[in-house]
């Protein structure tokens, strides 16, 4: 936690003048009286004055930023993003993720169809909880179609999930409840995507990594 202090010169390197000591004779009592309530100066040694030193103590957040960069730098990047996670699955390591919205049609038939979406509101909720921002890939009120097989976003931002005869399914059935892994920018300050992408400067973050810099 504490930054190292620039060492002042050792006593044998510090200024020392026997002549000066002789020209300013003082008894300990005189020195104490002179110093009064001056604890720092009481610690100074006669005949020695080390170079004064000041060193910043890094704040927790500064250390966190350093730690986050290291953690994220070691995490999977866009082309190798971890796949979607089915609810109830305990994967190791655990990556920060967002729950997908499910829409379906022809549900009463033998061939129901399903679509999965990333909801901007859910991404924002995670971002708020984690204290980071959200990149322009999605806004609070939009959705992105997500292919859980290829682990990629399909198309551009949508305002509804109900196009083409699909309807949102709530609550999400357990076997359709998937989470997609969130991808962060290089300094861990923004969610910039979900799942696979061609970007190599985006990173998945594990829970353990995250908690190590956001206690």
């Amino acid at each position: 936690m504490l930054a190292s202090v620039h060492d002042g010169p050792r006593a044998d390197e510090a200024h020392s003048r026997d002549e000066a000591k002789m020209s300013h004779p003082q008894t300990p009592v005189e020195v104490d009286r002179q110093h009064g309530n001056s604890p720092a100066r009481r610690k100074l040694i006669r005949g020695v004055f080390a170079l004064p030193a000041v060193a910043a103590v890094h704040s927790g957040s500064a250390l966190a930023a350093t730690s986050s960069l290291r953690c994220l730098g070691n995490g999977p990047t866009g082309p190798n993003a971890p796949g979607v996670i089915l609810a109830g699955t305990i994967e190791t390591p655990m990556f920060l993720r967002v729950e997908l919205i499910v829409a379906g049609k022809d549900l009463s038939t033998s061939s129901p169809l399903y679509r999965y979406f990333v909801a901007g509101s859910k991404v924002q909720a995670v971002a708020t909880a984690r204290g980071v921002g959200v990149g322009p890939f999605i806004t609070l009120s939009t959705f992105l179609l997500f292919n859980i097989s290829t682990n990629t976003i399909s198309g551009s931002q949508l305002t509804v999930v109900t196009a083409d005869g699909y309807a949102q399914i709530t609550p999400t059935p357990a076997d359709k409840k998937y989470f997609a892994v969130l991808m962060f920018n290089a300094d861990g300050t923004q969610i910039v995507g979900v799942g696979n992408s061609s970007a190599t400067d985006v990173h998945a973050a594990t829970e353990s990594c995250w908690t190590s810099f956001t206690p």
């Binding site: 202090v5 000591k21 604890p39 100074l44 006669r46 000041v54």
Partner: protein
């Protein structure tokens, strides 16, 4: 012509920590570690009020029994660091002589 004087920033807290000192600046919202010499300079500013580098050096010189010029040379680079740390502020005063 002005002569730089220095004053301790109000509210700065200095506490012993092990063999050194920690100083918190409400101005900068940060904490710094100081050695005895650095803390002594802050302490003198607190006791003496607004002081020039030479005045601080003269006080310390008497206490440690070293020539003021040597102390002055040692503490001269410190002011920039103390100001940057939010522990001291510089006050420009008219030269007295």
């Amino acid at each position: 012509l002005t002569l730089p004087h220095f004053a301790r920033v109000p509210g700065v807290r200095v506490e012993p920590l092990g063999e050194g000192w920690v100083a918190y600046s409400p101005l900068a919202g940060s904490t710094h570690v100081l050695n005895d010499s650095g803390a002594a300079v802050l302490e003198l500013l607190d006791e003496q009020g607004v002081s020039s580098s030479d005045q601080v050096a003269a006080h310390i010189a008497v206490e440690v029994g070293l020539p003021p010029a040597e102390i002055g040379a040692s503490i001269q680079p410190l002011w920039v660091e103390l100001i940057a740390a939010g522990l001291v502020r510089e006050i420009r005063a008219s030269a007295q002589s």
